[in-house]
């Protein structure tokens, strides 16, 4: 029986993976070949999706991007034994894109069957939790603190400190909440880990619950990810069946349950306090801090809220030890960052690497430059609230502090590449428009500022009192930045200000044409 891997990853499915899997099964049956089709996660080489992998004695051989029309010729070429074919990319683990990475969070993603507990265990799964049970809750918090892990959701807050705050609250009902509301354009790492290695997230939640004294965990997932919902729900059931969730987990005396909740298309619910409101069944309106969710969180109880990537990295930190993780990276940016390379780029995908790699290397060498073949002009790093970085700053290393020093941010590690056809005043306008659409409305700077921002940029684009209106726009940005309650209004100025700073010529075209 030959094992054939065809991803269930949403990006692979968007490029025809489901139809491809059906066609491979059908063709195999017609030819009397016995194959076992495993629906795995993606390896991250998204430009090759759907990527078929065939298990051979030499390793897993890849074929991609494969279409239904290629299936007959793949069989003819003997792909079940790794035969030569135009789509053959060789041994997948030896591919340069894979070789240049340091996969820590994504070490199992695309490798294992995401819904096989046995395979997860065979790939070091649940070793981190087992060690946590051995060393006890206080030592787990200590270990996470020492690892230097900072929240991968965007804010970069030290994860260990968050956990300690909740652990130090008096015993009683506490919650673990995972923020899987990955709404930033150019990001898909949360989706990929939850589709490709959902048990790592469950294990991370278990370790967290054990460390802080919580018995219930919620995962708040955005509705735009229907495949994640199916895979993750199935993973919860598999973990329950195997005794890794529920009562007295593996005889440890620790009880923990995980529940999946689906959002309803509100970007602001990615902000942690809005997310809590939404989980409670209310409008997703931000809460003023303090009190911190660590003290007064879900249903008023102490709550750890972590991003998917942060939580899914915990098992490996516990398994290999804090030092192993902390030794990676630069400065105060420890460990690895799963970078998501997207937009107008030749080799888009997920590339996990130690902090410190220069931005330009990621865009030009890893990403291969623009897909259109035109010169790259800007990269938006860190989602719709992230700054546009010009080519002149391409030596900037991926490092929280280095980016902050240039009024930019790493956010969730998404990079959206634009070629020289981009109109930066239009992108700045879009940034404000997005904020206006998605504002929860609670605070004035965000609610009114974003709408005023759109109007002001429209005036600038129409050539009306350009200098005065640019000054007004900058003032507005300042107010939003320092007066907003949460990151939606507070960070919306980043794309606008960076566009103004680095691409001023785009705001001074006489009578710009009406947008698009």
């Amino acid at each position: 029986m030959v094992k054939v891997y065809i991803p269930l990853d949403m990006a692979a499915v968007a490029m025809g993976a489901d139809r491809l899997a059906a066609a491979v099964a059908q063709e195999a049956a017609a030819r009397g070949e016995t194959v076992e089709i495993v629906r795995n996660g993606s390896r991250g080489m998204l430009w090759l999706e759907p990527l078929i992998e065939v298990e051979t004695p030499a390793g897993r051989v890849g074929y991609g991007p494969a279409k239904v029309k290629d299936v007959a010729s793949l069989f003819d070429a003997g792909f079940l034994t790794g035969g030569a074919h135009l789509l053959n990319i060789g041994i997948v683990d030896e591919h340069p894109w894979m070789k240049k990475q340091n996969r820590v969070t994504f070490v199992r993603c695309g490798v294992i069957d995401p819904l096989s507990v046995a395979e997860y265990e065979a790939h070091e799964g649940f070793k981190g939790l087992t060690r946590a049970f051995e060393i006890g809750p206080a030592a787990v918090v200590e270990e996470v603190t020492k690892s230097g892990l900072r929240g991968r959701g965007g804010a970069g807050f030290p994860t260990g400190i968050k956990w300690k705050t909740v652990a130090d609250c008096p015993p009683g009902q506490k919650y673990v909440v995972v923020n899987a509301d990955e709404g930033d354009s150019g990001t898909f790492a949360d989706r990929m880990i939850m589709e490709g290695d959902p048990l790592s997230l469950i294990e991370g939640m278990l370790i967290c619950g054990y460390a802080v004294g919580a018995s219930k965990g919620y995962v708040y997932l955005r509705s735009e990810y229907p495949i994640v919902a199916k895979v993750f729900q199935a993973a919860i059931e598999k973990a329950l069946e195997a005794g890794w969730l529920g009562k007295n987990i593996k005889g440890s005396g620790f009880d923990f349950d995980v529940e999946l909740r689906i959002g309803a298309g509100a970007y602001v619910c990615g902000e942690e306090t809005s997310l809590l409101e939404s989980l409670e069944g209310k409008r997703g309106i931000v809460r003023a801090k303090p009190p911190l969710p660590a003290h007064v969180g879900l249903f008023g109880k102490p709550t750890v809220i972590n991003n998917v990537l942060s939580m899914a990295t915990i098992p490996m930190i516990m398994e290999k030890g804090a030092k192993h993780y902390a030794d990676l990276g630069v400065g105060r940016s420890r460990g690895t960052m799963p970078l998501q390379i997207a937009g107008n780029v030749k080799y888009g995908g997920l590339f996990e690497t130690d902090f410190g790699i220069p931005l330009g290397v990621v865009v030009n060498e890893i990403g291969g430059g623009s897909r259109s073949g035109r010169p790259v002009r800007a990269v938006q790093v860190g989602g719709p609230l992230g700054a546009y970085v010009p080519v002149s700053l391409f030596d900037l290393p991926i490092d929280y502090e280095a980016f902050a020093a240039k009024d930019s941010l790493i956010g969730h590690g998404g990079l959206v590449v634009f070629d020289d056809t981009v109109d930066m005043s239009w992108m700045a306008r879009f940034g404000m428009e997005f904020c206006a659409i998605e504002s929860c409305g609670k605070c004035t700077p965000c609610r009114l500022g974003s709408t005023r921002g759109v109007e002001t940029i429209d005036k600038i684009r129409n050539g009306m009192d350009v200098d005065a209106n640019i000054a007004l726009l900058k003032d507005l940005c300042h107010t939003m930045k320092f007066g907003s309650l949460c990151a939606l209004g507070g960070f919306a100025p980043y794309p606008v200000e960076s566009a103004l700073r680095h691409f001023p010529e785009d705001f001074r075209k006489p009578a710009l044409e009406a947008a698009e």
Binding site: M10, A11, V13, A14, M15, L46, W47, E49, E182, G183, D184, S185, G186, T187, F188, S223, E224, Y225, P226, E259, R261, I262, G263, A264, G265, A266, Y267, S278, L279, E280, G281, K282, R283, G284, I285, F299, Q340, I341, A342, G343, N344, V345, G348, G349, R371, Q380, P384, G414, V416, V417, F418, D419, V422, M427, F430, F434, I437, E438, C440, E516
Partner: protein, 157 residues
């Protein structure tokens, strides 16, 4: 979406009751109601308010906050087209505008025959295959004008 059930208070109450054991059940109930009826009818909002012991105004506030919940019957098929930055970097905005113009629709509109609703979506996480779309829950990468036309034609069949 096609196949939605006719609204009845009794069915709505059943759906609500089935979720009352959850902590913070409102969102799961709203999703279940919309799945059953294709939208969240006013009468169901009233039932929810009673069951959750909150005012109807408060319940109305919740339903209207979220982009996903519809207050009226929707098209039989839904096409969500991504408008976010990554898709814009590959010309999505111009492409979507041309498609909407052809259908004489604006964002959020439904064709007069009730076949297709076209909604904006701000990122589907398919950013390495921009522009992208979601048709009745099926993800589509590297969308072009021809594919959009095919979807519009299929929706009307």
């Amino acid at each position: 979406m096609s196949g939605a059930a006719q609204y009845s208070d009794e069915r709505a109450r059943e759906i609500i009751a089935a979720h009352m054991g959850l902590e913070g059940p409102a969102m799961p109930i709203l999703h279940a109601l919309q799945k059953e009826f294709g939208y969240v009818p006013d009468a169901a909002v009233k039932e929810m308010a009673e069951a959750l012991n909150i005012s109807r105004a408060e319940m109305h506030g919740v339903v209207t906050f979220y982009h996903d919940f519809h207050r009226a019957p929707h098209g039989r098929h839904t096409l969500k087209i991504c408008r976010a930055e990554s898709c814009q970097s590959m010309g999505a905005e111009r492409q979507a505008r041309a498609f909407l113009d052809k259908l004489k629709l604006d964002w959020g509109g439904t064709t007069p025959d009730g076949a297709l609703s076209v909604e904006p979506v701000y990122c589907l996480g398919l950013c390495a295959h921009s522009p992208s779309a979601l048709y009745d829950g099926e993800p589509i990468g590297r969308v072009d004008a021809e594919m959009l036309d095919e979807i519009a034609a299929e929706a009307r069949d």
